[in-house]
């Protein structure tokens, strides 16, 4: 199933004869062949479904990161923000403020989306109005969101108390529609929306313009600050959507929730072909990057070749090789 997700956009890009955009998909295909050689169970439907499903968090967050990075920004706070949004959402679910399980879950989802958007807005406004480097701003908010989560949890974890509510919400991660897991559907919907906004709207073109050359964009009459701030809001909403899928999985937010997700999201974006300096954004490449990251971890556990101490090194090497394959294709 992940084959189809990967192959469709690849075919579309082939028509444009843009090899650089195809490159991440080639790397993904190479990884598939490698995985199949390592362990026959790798190509099992269960395993592939698991991997694609759990890549959902990073993939969805990375779609938001594609916007921020395309516009020349950076958001390091997404992992902590995910933990914070998850924490507040579960605390709200535990209050039982709304009658009925589905009503309660819907209300909590709206709250989470609003919280995410506000967190993103804060990042955006501090960056643009305060005229501070986004690296520093989001490094600061990263600490703030993480500490707030730990404070709310009193150092422990925040878990959903009601078992009925838990059971009602569980299918959002574990359920499927016609055999396609719901998180995968969420990735596709968010990616289609993201691709539409980035490629087909005026705002999307403004994002690219701001990312390629801020001064030129300003002289062309684009409100640079507004565009930049909005990309952070989009990032915040994407984090909240990822949380909506994350919470039903384990039903808890812990101090390790979202740890290092920011680095994984940025890596996924870069593997996908988006330039860190801004001006180029590739939504489908980003999805592909998130899949590559998750597959590498999966293949490592399935293989018996590598000592458990060396897994990190092999993961790093595979990511670099994937980038090299991409580059060599891009040059042709």
């Amino acid at each position: 199933m992940s084959n189809t997700t990967a192959a469709q956009p690849a075919k579309r890009s082939l028509g444009d004869i843009d090899l650089r955009a195809v490159a991440p998909f080639v790397a993904l295909a190479v990884l598939f062949v490698f995985g199949a050689m390592v362990n026959p169970n790798f190509l099992g439907l269960d395993n592939l479904t698991n991997v694609v499903t759990r890549s959902a968090f990073i993939a969805i967050i990375a779609i938001g990161a594609t916007f921020v990075i395309s516009a020349g920004g950076l958001d390091l706070s997404v992992g902590s923000m995910a933990a914070f949004v998850a924490g507040t959402m579960i605390l709200f679910l535990n209050t039982g403020a709304v009658a009925g399980d589905s009503g309660m879950i819907a209300a909590a989802m709206c709250l989470a989306l609003a919280t995410g958007a506000l967190c993103g807005l804060a990042n955006g406004l501090i960056t643009t109005l305060g005229r501070i480097e986004p690296f520093i701003v989001t490094l600061g908010t990263m600490g703030i969101f993480r500490a707030l989560t730990i404070y709310l949890a009193e150092g422990g974890s925040i878990a959903m108390k009601s078992q009925e509510l838990r059971a009602a919400y569980r299918p959002i991660y574990f359920g499927n529609v016609l055999g396609v897991p719901i998180p995968v559907i969420v990735i596709l919907v968010v990616a289609i929306l993201g691709a539409f906004i980035l490629y087909r709207t005026r705002f999307g073109r403004h994002v690219m313009a701001v990312g390629s050359n801020e001064e030129v964009a300003r002289y062309s009459g684009i409100s640079v600050n507004r565009v930049r701030t909005l990309t952070y809001v989009i990032q915040g909403i994407c984090v909240a959507i990822a949380v909506l899928v994350y919470v039903p999985r384990l039903g808890a937010a812990t101090p390790t929730t979202g740890l290092l997700w920011e680095l994984q999201a940025i890596t996924a974006v870069v593997i996908g072909g988006t330039a860190l300096r801004g001006g180029v954004g590739r939504i489908w490449g980003t999805i592909c990057g998130a899949l590559i990251l998750e597959l590498v971890g999966n293949i490592m556990v399935l293989s018996d070749m590598v000592s458990e101490y060396l897994i990190g090194a092999v993961q790093g090497a595979i990511i670099i090789i994937a980038m090299l394959i991409q580059r060599s294709l891009g040059r042709r």
Binding site: N39, F42, G155, A159, L250, A252, L302
Partner: protein
């Protein structure tokens, strides 16, 4: 300063700790361990004992409680459930101890990694402290910074992770890591009838994880238990969930899972439930997280037991250190808490609904 030896009160609550335990450890005998977990009940008893001592000292006419003592507590930041529990219990012990000894000032400082903990130790020492209670991030990295603290004549209590040079510490309070592994291994050996396929999820590559693995291997020694795989789950629910999903894809038959930590057990159970696999008979975690203790008490077949490794050991260490200054109780040596097997029968003793962990 000799007044307690007159009353003989000094040996009452902690007569069995100190160097005797150290001696027994050296001889390879199990340490005397009376209480596995300084739970609320036990704590209360000890507090009452100490309160009685405090009264006795007041009766001698010297207000020892007013003596000014600065105690610094340096611990890792709450980066997973267990360390979260450590922070919680450190803050709680700070409150009770400061209320009991008016002259005592406790500073609790959390650090996200080993390097910043080394800095924190320097800062705390510079403020002028009399005692340091520390749970080091990493033994090797922090041995020298703690040695420098000791060289200033400060009383040093080390918790949980032993230093590379054991002569530095005045007092060592810890759970029993090899024992935690061994108890889990022996339980699995017994329950599976000495034969079966087991997967292991490790924590982080540090000393205590190694000790637990060695203990586990010792526990299953001499049986036909086969360890199919060992991977790191970083003491994280999410990572353990992923590793377990991958194990389930890789192995068609697994009899039992040992994941040595209750946080990770949460992720493992979720992965098993999702895969709807019936071959796994049970999961053994460890530490004593309240949700898991509750499952044991409720007779959950997937979590039949838990192995204790209580984060409240930081409070034990702070209590003992404070009593060194105010009550003149001999406490130097090692205080090793037992890795008790929590079963359905005794689970109630270890269940604390108010604790965050």
């Amino acid at each position: 300063m000799k007044r307690f030896s007159d009353t003989g009160a000094g040996i009452v609550p902690y007569g069995h700790t100190g160097t005797v335990v150290e001696e027994r450890r050296r001889k390879g005998r199990p340490p005397f361990v009376r209480e596995a977990f300084l739970g609320r009940e036990n704590m209360k008893n000890i507090l009452m004992g100490l309160a009685a001592l405090a009264l006795a000292s007041a009766a001698t006419g010297v207000q020892a409680q007013d003596r000014q003592v600065n105690m610094a507590v340096s611990i890792p930041a709450a980066d997973h459930g267990w360390t979260g529990g450590v922070v919680y219990h450190a803050e709680r012990a700070k409150k009770t101890l400061e209320a009991r000894y008016p002259g005592l000032k406790i500073t609790v400082k959390t650090s996200p990694d080993g390097a910043s903990q080394a800095n924190a130790l320097e800062d705390l020492t510079a403020q002028g402290i009399d005692a340091l209670v520390t749970l080091p991030h990493n033994s090797d990295e922090l041995t020298d910074p703690i040695r420098q603290v000791k060289e200033k004549g400060i009383f040093v209590t080390v918790v949980d992770r032993a230093l590379s040079d054991q002569t530095i510490q005045d007092l060592y309070v810890a759970g029993n890591n090899p024992e935690l592994g061994r108890v889990a291994g022996e339980y699995i050996k017994k329950e599976l009838g000495g034969k079966g396929d087991v997967v292991v999820i490790r924590g982080l590559p540090i000393v205590i994880d190694e000790e637990r693995q060695k203990g586990f291997d010792e526990g299953i020694k001499g049986s036909d238990i086969k360890v199919l795989d060992r991977q790191f789950g970083n003491w994280s629910r999410d990572d353990a969930f992923k590793v377990m999903q991958d194990y389930l894809a890789k192995y068609k038959k697994i009899d039992a899972v040992w994941c040595q930590d209750d946080d990770m057990a949460v992720g493992v159970l979720e992965a098993i439930q999702q895969a709807d696999r019936k071959d796994i008979k049970f999961v053994v975690g460890g530490a004593g997280m309240k949700e898991m203790i509750k499952r044991v008490a409720d007779g959950d077949t997937m979590i039949p037991v838990d192995v204790l490794y209580p984060p409240a050991m930081i409070a034990t260490a702070m209590e003992l250190t404070a009593s060194n200054f105010y009550d003149q109780i001999p406490i130097r040596g090692s205080y090793i808490l037992d890795a008790t097997l929590v079963t359905k029968e005794n689970a109630k003793e270890f269940y604390f609904p108010d604790s965050p962990f």
